[in-house]
Amino acid sequence: MSEIRKDLQYTKEHEWVRKTSNPKVVVIGITDFAQSSLGDVTYVDVPAVGTEIKQDQVFGSIESVKSVSDLFAPLSGKIVKTNEALSDDPAPVNSAPFDNGWLVEIEISNEAEFSKLLNASAYEQVAQ
């Protein structure tokens, strides 16, 4: 059974979103289910700070030894921070996907988009 955090929101492409103390900024990562299907992550490819991303569009990718998975933006916005530690060592994406394995922080551009996200119990149905 993969871990699902109740306080987060999700997409059906297995990304999670965490709100921060700043209402305009959220943290994005991939779920425990995603990391376990991928296998050992070897490389994380996310765009540079300042890049605009659009909800549901591919904004990066994650590589494991045997596969590459696209990352789909859960919300639209601008990248304000990336997890640079992952370029030296991407292992936290596997060991702590909800914590040290976070990928990017974005400044959201459209609050209404939150309605498209899944809550924890809805995501549980997806992550079978």
Partner: protein, 490 residues
């Protein structure tokens, strides 16, 4: 295979200053003055070893390899059949090894004649009108085929942008189409892994489909029974048909792709026609083409002398040719091997090869069907697809089974391909294996299936495999993370 002293050194680690293994003639003429400019500043850092040290180093390395000469490779779609040694003998004749590709044709008649004859033999075997031997490997053959299709449509004044490719196809198909600038439209296969005629019908109505890339027999080892219908439909809609010839072994002497309306098909000489895999290459491709595509063949082609004399010439004055995709004529020394093999087998041998390949794959299917989920419970061609569906119930996966097989001295089958069967294992025994060897393989697989049913199966039988080889499970994650690609990075 060896359980050799496990510490293998890199040649640089064995290097000692002053050791050498070269033997060069003395200059009989004055040495030229050193380069005034652009001289290399530092001598390359290469190992210094004596000849014996070099021989031992590489001999030891060779003993760490599994090979056909050691044991069976039941790798689906790879056709790992025996590499006849007479091929090596003929390919090493001075007349073949020491002839420069730009030799004026009158002094290279043997090479041209061999190429000409080989093309004819392959045409007869495959049913195509002509063959190009220029592609270096299957992937280049695919690229050439799509390129020729593109040229043909262009000559008709068409500018179609799409190519249909079944999801079950080999990864090179999509990559080759993309290299030619086409948009790939994936086709969902039927439950049997075959092309869905209705889907092709729908997708080709718009008239912007350049063609389809089909694999026959399919990547699941089944013959596309509707092939004539499909090729006719594509042609009626103005497109052309490419066939991936990786599975040609199932067709030798039994059926011919050229008769089924295929416009071009690549050969994998290193599969069907026994040229050696060499640990990953060189391959040897080739492309059979229908009459429609002949004008677009790459140059130069080998022709009989148009003047009527008995000799052969090279023709590069073909105005509609796609040009050249590779330097010179292709992997000539591999052609010599394939030619030798085809001349040895003859018509009866060729047919027996195709039939025995199919017989042995079906033998495996019947022996394993009570122990593994067979993807399709009906006669297969030269390969059979099974999966880990039953074993997964007890937590054992295809990868575990693969690593387990290694400890029995057999190479694992192709795993996790085709992607449409989760946990696929694709088994192709090939006709050069004896029934005894194939039965041994089946017994190993059955034993593993029994082990997988036990309690604590993973810990008892599957963890930490291989256990008995010189090397245990290799850490591929570490390799990808640290990316050390040269001894400079040590």
């Amino acid at each position: 295979m060896s359980n050799w002293p496990l510490k293998t050194s890199l040649s640089v680690e064995l290097s000692r200053p002053g050791h050498c293994a070269h033997s060069l003639p003395k200059l009989e003429i004055p040495e030229a003055p050193p380069p005034a400019r652009n001289a290399r500043q530092k001598i390359p850092h290469l190992p210094e070893l004596s000849e014996l040290e070099v021989v031992r180093h590489f001999t030891r390395l060779s003993t760490l390899n599994f090979s056909i000469d050691n044991g069976m490779y039941p790798l689906g779609s790879c056709t790992m059949k025996y590499n006849p040694r007479v091929n090596e003998a003929t390919a090493s004749f001075r007349g073949f090894t020491r002839i420069h590709p730009k030799t004026p044709v009158q002094f290279a008649q043997g090479a041209l004649e061999l190429m000409y004859q080989l093309e004819n033999l392959l045409s007869e075997i495959s049913g195509f009108s002509r063959v190009s031997l220029q592609p270096a490997a299957g992937a280049q053959g695919e690229y050439l085929g799509i390129k020729m299709i593109k040229a043909c449509l262009k000559a008709r004044g068409e500018n179609r942008k799409k190519i249909l490719i079944p999801e079950s196809a080999h990864g090179t198909n999509g990559a080759s189409a993309a290299m030619c600038g086409y948009e790939v439209v994936p086709l969902k296969t039927t439950a049997e892994g075959l092309v869905d005629f209705n889907q092709v019908d729908e997708l080709t109505r718009s008239g912007d489909v350049a063609g389809i890339m089909i694999t026959n027999p399919s990547t699941l080892g089944l013959f596309e029974s509707d092939i004539l219908k499909i090729t006719k439909l594509i042609h009626d809609r103005g497109g052309l048909v490419y066939c991936d010839g990786a599975n040609m072994n199932a067709m030798l002497g039994i059926t011919r792709p050229g008769d089924a309306g295929i416009d071009c098909m690549h050969f994998n000489m290193h599969k069907t026609f026994t040229t050696p895999h060499g640990g990953g290459g060189p391959g040897c491709g080739g492309l059979g083409v229908s009459k429609t595509l002949i004008p677009f063949l790459p140059v130069p082609t080998v022709e009989k002398n148009p003047s009527g004399a008995d000799d052969f010439v090279l023709d590069d004055k073909r105005p509609e040719s796609v040009g050249a995709i590779k330097d010179y004529y292709g992997h000539f020394l591999m052609m010599v091997r394939a030619y030798t093999y085809i001349r040895e087998l003859g018509a009866e041998g060729m047919q027996k090869a195709g039939q025995d390949a199919i017989l042995l794959a079906n033998y495996v299917r019947m022996r394993l069907k009570d122990h593994y989920e067979v993807a399709f419970d009906k006669p297969c061609m030269h390969e059979v697809v099974i999966s880990d569906k039953r074993q997964q119930k007890n937590g054992i996966k295809t990868l575990d089974i693969a690593k387990r097989i290694i400890d029995e001295g057999i190479h694992p089958p192709t795993i996790y391909f085709p992607l449409i069967i989760p946990g696929a294992m694709m088994i192709e025994p090939t006709e050069t294996e004896s029934l005894r060897a194939v039965e041994k393989f089946c017994q190993v697989m059955i034993q593993i299936a029994e082990e997988a049913k036990e309690e604590n199966a993973y810990e008892k039988h599957f963890a930490g495999r291989p256990r008995h080889m010189a090397y245990a499970k290799v850490n591929e994650t570490l390799a990808a993370r640290q990316l050390k690609l040269s001894w400079k990075d040590l």
